[in-house]
């Protein structure tokens, strides 16, 4: 089956529940809601997407997303399914009964984003310790040990060189401009 045929079948089955559905090359880009997530996964599993490549979370600050990357060993089509989850009470149904691979991936997603998976056989943190407070990959997670991002003045420098392109070059007699203030050294 081609990606378009898969898409056709999914559209007839789910209709408006698939808020986004398009085929980009061999990849099916799908988006759905949390209550339909499991049903869509099951349909995809039955359509022959027997390999769960990756399950990850994304924090969009307004909502969370659980992203499923599926593929098959028999056809070239791939699936990129995004399930939108409420940020205050993130709950989706576990797909670990469809793909056992999801077991650890979902534990990791819970560990990092706090998404709870209904029906998961072993719902614990996996990488962090049991008593860890908070979900580190959420965008509002703070920790004084985190080193803030710095581009070490690269953007400022570029803006300056672009602005200075049209202007005549300063002669050697002209006084040197003062050195730009250095960004504070990262601590910790």
């Amino acid at each position: 089956m081609t990606p378009e045929q898969f898409l056709e079948q999914l559209r007839t089955q789910f209709g408006a529940a698939l808020t986004e559905a398009e085929a980009k090359g061999s990849v099916l880009l799908l988006t759905t809601t949390a209550d339909q997530g499991y049903a869509v996964c099951k349909a995809l599993h039955d359509l022959g997407f027997e390999y769960l490549n990756c399950l990850s979370g994304v924090d969009w600050t307004t909502h969370l997303e659980v992203v499923y990357d599926l593929s098959s060993l028999h056809h070239a089509a791939k699936v990129h399914l995004r399930v939108k989850v409420d940020r205050a009470d993130p709950l989706v149904r576990s797909v670990s009964d469809l793909w056992k691979a999801a077991n650890w991936h979902e534990r990791e997603c819970y560990d990092m984003f706090g998404v709870r998976f209904d029906g998961h056989p072993d719902h614990r943190r996996i990488l962090l310790s049991e008593d860890w407070v908070g979900f580190p990959l959420r965008k509002d997670y703070t920790d004084e040990r985190l080193v803030p991002y710095t581009d070490y003045g690269l953007e400022e420098k570029q803006a300056k060189t672009e602005a200075g392109k049209g202007a005549p070059k300063p002669t050697s007699a002209a006084p040197k401009p003062p050195a730009p203030p250095k960004p504070p050294a990262p601590t910790g």
Binding site: C54, D69, L73, A101, W104, L128, L137, L154
Partner: protein
């Protein structure tokens, strides 16, 4: 044994008993154990000598790789990817730069593509050699360890000549490579290949044809094909379960579609099969390197890329075949110089998740062999 008998140190007799004379106990293995190749902790539930359950505890080496990635720009992440799988840094670099290039639709000069393939395949040989050596060591065969390290040292010398580093190269760049091969390197590489090819029969004489070695690893850690797919196993683990699947051939990336090579598949589904797959893969990697050296084009090694890399908003999941299996990078860009979300799908993480399934019903003496056959690197499991 009555309940008043003192509990032996290091074991915990659980109160529920199966029958009158049988009892189950937990044995803790790791995190400081030479056969866990890092800091992995296993709780083995034993019924006599038979493993009835195995609970892996990971995360001892967690260092917020993904969170760090979100706080660095796209170029700054490259050295961090080295530390994922520190035994196959070239492969980690390769997967990461490919995913950024996919995100920004960046073309790569053909010479750089060939260099990438050559270095990635050399890395596969080095990684499999280290696996074979330590696997032999786990099973009490010390000689093969020394043999394998001798050859691996030569590969590391080649890498050192190219990049100046022996383990963490950070040699791949977005849109190309950091430097060209130094003078005389290609001859040096050819010399290594000529020297390496006759070494495989040497290993065979030492381990493959060794009846003790075979008896030790045949029929243990069984994982059939459909279950392996369901668990998301990849790489040699999947191919040893009779599934003919290799991303270099089934979903070609870079210039892998230009080379002739076989994908070794064995359907023994056990530790023996995984051993045979990795042994055969080294031979196939030699074939790929020879073809790539033969067809190595001249020209640029670095495409023109913007000074600040700002891919357009979008996302990409790119998978490559690392020595341990499917290495995936999932990147979400919001148009700024740093990734909005940076996720690593680590092959050993998924392979290890099936450990419980493989261990169940095996003897405790085989636990080390089964764990060794997974070829774990805690650096990429814990991230």
């Amino acid at each position: 044994m009555s309940m008043t008998t003192p509990i032996p140190i290091g074991t915990q007799v659980i109160t529920e008993r199966l029958g009158e004379t049988m009892e189950e106990m937990y044995v803790n293995m790791g995190p400081q154990h030479p056969s866990t190749h890092g800091v992995l902790r296993l709780m083995l539930k034993l019924d006599g000598e038979v493993i009835t359950d195995c609970i892996p505890y990971i995360g001892y080496l967690h260092r917020c790789h993904e969170k760090i990635g979100e706080n660095r720009n796209y170029v700054q992440i490259i050295p961090y990817t080295d530390r994922l799988d520190y035994l196959a840094s070239m492969a980690m670099n390769f997967g990461y730069v490919l995913s950024v290039e996919r995100l920004m639709n960046q073309e790569v000069p053909p010479r750089a593509e060939y260099m990438r393939v050559i270095l990635a395949e050399l890395q596969r040989i080095a990684s499999h050699l280290l696996w074979l050596g330590t696997f032999g060591l786990d099973l009490g065969n010390f000689t093969i360890f020394i043999y394998c390290f001798r050859e691996r040292e030569m590969v590391l010398d080649l890498f050192e000549a190219v990049s100046g580093q022996r383990l963490n190269y950070a040699f791949y760049r977005i849109g190309g490579m950091a430097m060209d091969f130094p003078d005389g390197w290609i001859e040096q590489c050819r010399e290594f290949l000529t020297w390496f090819k006759p070494r495989i029969p040497e290993y065979d004489a030492l381990v493959t044809d060794n009846i003790l070695f075979q008896k030790r690893i045949r029929g243990i850690g069984v994982m059939d094909g459909p279950t392996a797919v369901n668990y998301g196993l990849s790489g040699p683990m999947l191919r040893a379960s009779g599934i003919n699947w290799d991303l270099r051939r089934n979903d070609p990336y870079s210039v892998y579609d230009r080379f002739e090579f076989n994908v070794p598949v064995f359907d023994t589904c056990d530790v023996w099969g995984r051993f045979l797959v990795r042994r055969q893969e080294m031979i196939e990697s030699v074939k790929i390197i020879e073809q790539a050296l033969e067809g190595l084009p001249s020209g640029d090694i670095q495409a023109k890329v913007p000074k600040t890399i700002k891919p357009a908003a979008g996302q990409a999941y790119v998978r490559t075949e690392s020595p341990r299996g499917e290495l995936g990078f999932y990147l979400v860009s919001d148009g700024t110089p740093k990734p909005y979300r940076y996720k690593v799908r680590s092959p050993a993480f998924c392979n290890l998740s099936a450990l419980t399934e493989m261990m169940r019903g095996c003897l405790v003496a085989d636990a080390v062999a089964i764990l060794g056959s997974v070829d774990i690197v805690l650096g990429e499991i814990d991230r």
